[in-house]
Symmetry: C2
Subunit: 132 residues, 2 copies
């Protein structure tokens, strides 16, 4: 059952913050790495390249958690646990350009490689904790 | 089978960086939160309060991964996967004071609550990846 994103979670996501995204590997162990992040008012939204480990993990197991610090105060953070409700190529390249604008101030994300497929990953929050 | 900490991993850990520590909940889902971190040349060392969720998770399942960004360059990070080889109260309060010194510049960590039991968590690296 999803819960609403708190105002604090939205505010931290709207900063130039990084989401450290934890997923479950095929052997049941955790994997975690930092990525850009945005939200749509309801979901936490990530963008990734389709072949990445975190995408393959989330396609197999939708359980996910993200830890995000306030860039202006490392001691304020949120952990948002949830499940992935959609992984789609629709809007994938638009999504990475929007994040490129947010984080780098550029109109076109410069990091795409030939053959890259960008996906939007939509996370429904189920529990929000944190500090500060 | 453990592997050595790379020089880059050691260097990022020696900065005032935060380790976003991913553990596995009882239901198999991931949990992740930022904590202070140090190393002993071989292991990644965390310090926590014994009742915390991440400690209970790691007592049940030693599989762990930490994601650490260079505080001076968010686009340089390491992910260190590994397993917890020891959780001990020995050196627990000394450990949190050492981290208090590193991160806050104080001689005594000011955050202990009555009844708190501090533990040292020793992680053997098994795989190191990253960017930058």
């Amino acid at each position: 059952m999803g819960i609403p994103l708190s105002d604090k979670a939205k505010s931290i996501i709207e900063d130039k913050s990084f989401a450290h995204v934890a997923t479950i590997n095929a052997d049941g162990s955790p994997q975690v790495s930092p990525v850009w992040v945005e939200h749509d008012g309801t979901h936490v939204i990530l963008n990734s390249e389709k072949k990445r480990l975190k995408v393959r993990n989330l396609e197999r197991n939708p359980a996910v958690s993200v830890s995000i610090q306030n860039p202006a105060d490392s001691y304020q953070y949120v952990e948002i646990r949830g499940k992935v409700v959609e992984i789609t190529t629709e809007g994938g390249f638009e999504g990475i350009d929007r994040l490129g604008k947010k984080y780098m101030g550029v109109d076109k994300y410069p990091g795409n490689q030939p053959g890259d497929v960008r996906v939007q990953i939509k996370i429904e929050p189920t529990r929000i904790t944190g500090m500060g």
